[in-house]
């Protein structure tokens, strides 16, 4: 609880600070002037020497009044802070106290020192001391002989890889990444239809290895998957090898150090990997969705540990995926797609957009099965080396997509059951029709990858539309 300060002037000091030592005699001068003065000392209770001081031993006053610098002078009226000054400024202190000759022989100004309450070595401990009551999760106390990493495996809290122990210190630090109340319910998490709070997400984000600045992205991705449209329940339960693929857009992707370039789907980038991992850990631990239980995937795919990347916006001739899906320019956003692992499209010979589009179409045609139509969407991730071919020819997003769809109108004779000596296929009545491989908005276009390599990538989807999953795009809020 925030301590009540007495009316009048309140000073916060510490002996370790040379500026505080310099102004020590002034406190006697202020007190002698008749002003009501209360001094709090952070470290040495015998300091300052010129007046008696209260010891802010647990730093409660300093923490709750957001003291960043010592010395700080506060003016309290009717129990409320109305003014403050910090460091030493002769002019400011004279005006603040109304004593015209205060510190007349001292230098004009001296900067203060860092308050103990913002000491990086103490900050986590203080946050627990003063804010842990905002957390509601059960405390799990480990025995001193217990290996905390092994104990988390034993409790079934991990995805098969080690996780960071979610101590109150780490969870409270994670929560500094958002302005949202820890008890705010963000979504209903499948499969057990559990109210998903910001606190539970923060715990799982710590375990995933995320940093506080990733938390708004993780929360948004969870909001985006836990709804009827995306249908995380079905994505989890299906026997198909899909999981949430998370595509991040906006300047914030750079600010948090996401990778949109070399090895974009691979290992090595903390933000990419831990954002996706935190989403999946949350579904596992809070929602209760575990492989072999509700998760019935025949094969699954390695991306179900984490599949998250940023779009290379600066180099894209296609605009951004988020803008195409209705998000304002420069707005941070997350798009989620129920997808399998990426497969490579190799074309090192095409020098015209038509040739390259032919290759893309042929590879997209094989998504899930060459005779499967309209049931699955796909993401085409075009690399910089490939996108240059389109940029040089003046092709943008609309042109490429319309040319792709035009090439993916398939004669029914190739699709019906038995055609190509494959039992899979459409009923015989489609033999004389032409059927599109994809629905009108069934190809999502993204731009990412390293600067060298004439390769692109296809990420196949899952049952699309109302019967399965629809991609969802949401703005990232703080």
């Amino acid at each position: 609880m925030k301590p009540q300060l007495p009316d009048g002037l309140v000073a916060i000091v510490k002996r370790e600070c040379a500026t505080c030592v310099m102004v020590d005699p002034l406190f006697a001068h202020i007190a002698a002037s008749g002003a009501s003065l209360t001094v709090y000392t952070q470290d040495d209770p015998t300091f300052p020497a010129s007046v008696a001081a209260l010891h802010d031993a647990d730093l409660s006053v300093s923490w709750h009044y957001d003291i960043e610098t010592v010395p700080t002078l506060l003016r309290i009226e009717n129990g409320v802070e109305v003014d403050r000054t910090f460091g030493w400024s002769k002019d400011a202190w004279q005006k603040f106290t109304g004593i015209a000759d205060l510190g007349a022989d001292l230098p004009v100004m001296r900067p203060g020192c860092g308050s103990l309450s913002v000491d990086p070595n103490l900050e986590d401990e203080l946050r627990v001391r003063f804010t842990s009551s905002t957390l509601h999760s059960r405390h799990v106390e480990l025995a001193s002989a217990e290996d905390e990493f092994e104990s988390m495996f034993i409790r079934g809290w991990t995805d098969g890889l080690p996780v960071i122990p979610p101590t109150p210190e780490r969870v409270l630090r994670m929560l500094t990444g958002t302005t949202r109340n820890p008890q705010e319910v963000v979504a209903i998490a499948p499969p057990n239809l559990v109210q998903l709070t910001v606190e539970k997400i923060a715990i799982n984000a710590v375990m995933a290895g995320a940093l506080p600045e990733y938390l708004p992205w993780i929360i948004t991705a969870l909001e985006a998957v836990c709804n009827d449209e995306f249908n995380m329940h079905g994505v989890l339960a299906t026997t198909m090898p899909v999981g949430p693929v998370i595509i991040c857009n906006g300047p914030g992707t750079q600010a948090i150090g996401m990778n949109s370039g070399v090895n974009v789907f691979g290992q090595g980038n903390r933000a990419n990997l831990t954002i996706g991992r935190a989403v999946q850990l949350t579904i596992r631990n809070v929602g209760g969705g575990k492989p072999g239980e509700v998760d019935r995937a025949t094969h699954g795919n390695p991306g179900k540990l984490s599949f998250c990347f940023a779009e290379d916006e600066a180099g894209s001739p296609f605009g951004t995926l988020a803008e195409e899906r209705g998000i304002a320019p420069q707005q941070n956003a997350v798009t989620v797609f129920a997808g399998e692992g990426p497969r490579c499209v190799v074309d090192q010979a095409a020098r015209t957009p038509e040739q390259l589009t032919n290759s893309f179409a042929a590879c997209l045609r094989a998504t899930h099965h060459p005779k499967s139509v309209l049931s699955f969407d796909a993401i085409l991730v075009v690399s910089p080396d490939h996108s240059r071919v389109f940029a040089e020819a003046g092709w943008g997003r609309e042109r490429l997509l319309s040319e792709l769809h035009a090439r993916l109108q398939i004669p029914g004779a190739e699709l019906v059951r038995g055609a190509l000596d494959m039992a899979e296929g459409l009923p015989a009545k489609f033999a004389d029709r032409t059927v599109p491989k994809f629905k009108a908005r069934g190809i999502l276009l993204a731009h990412a990858g390293g600067g060298a390599g004439l390769f692109s990538s296809v990420i196949g989807g899952w049952a699309n539309g109302a019967m399965g999953s629809t991609p969802v795009t949401r703005p990232v809020l703080s």
Binding site: E146, D147, N231, H233, G234, T238, V286, G287
Partner: protein, 93 residues
């Protein structure tokens, strides 16, 4: 090794344990609900089950989920619970 406090990352709740009803000795005179989850060819399987149950003297009611990818809607679950004595939920593929 540790002496740590960890915060529980789970939902901290346990699903309610419900006893299964005893298996009826006979289906004669009972109402059997057949829930089609609408996977391909599930109807073929359920059609055959219906024939067998009717031959045994049961009354059969058929139900369908809107899509196999989502849980059955609460209204559908309620309908089945008030109209049927037993229910069979059918997969396919």
């Amino acid at each position: 090794m540790s002496a740590s406090i960890l915060l529980d990352p789970t939902n901290e709740s346990r699903p309610a344990q419900r006893e299964q009803l005893a298996r009826p000795a006979s289906v004669k005179g009972l109402t059997v609900g057949l829930l089609d989850i609408v996977k391909a060819r599930g109807d073929i399987y359920l059609n055959r089950l219906e024939e067998l149950f009717v031959a045994e003297g049961a009354k059969v009611l058929r139900f369908r989920k809107p899509t196999f990818t989502k849980p059955a809607p609460p209204d559908l679950r309620h309908e089945i619970s008030i109209q049927c004595n037993v229910v069979i939920e059918a997969l396919a593929d």
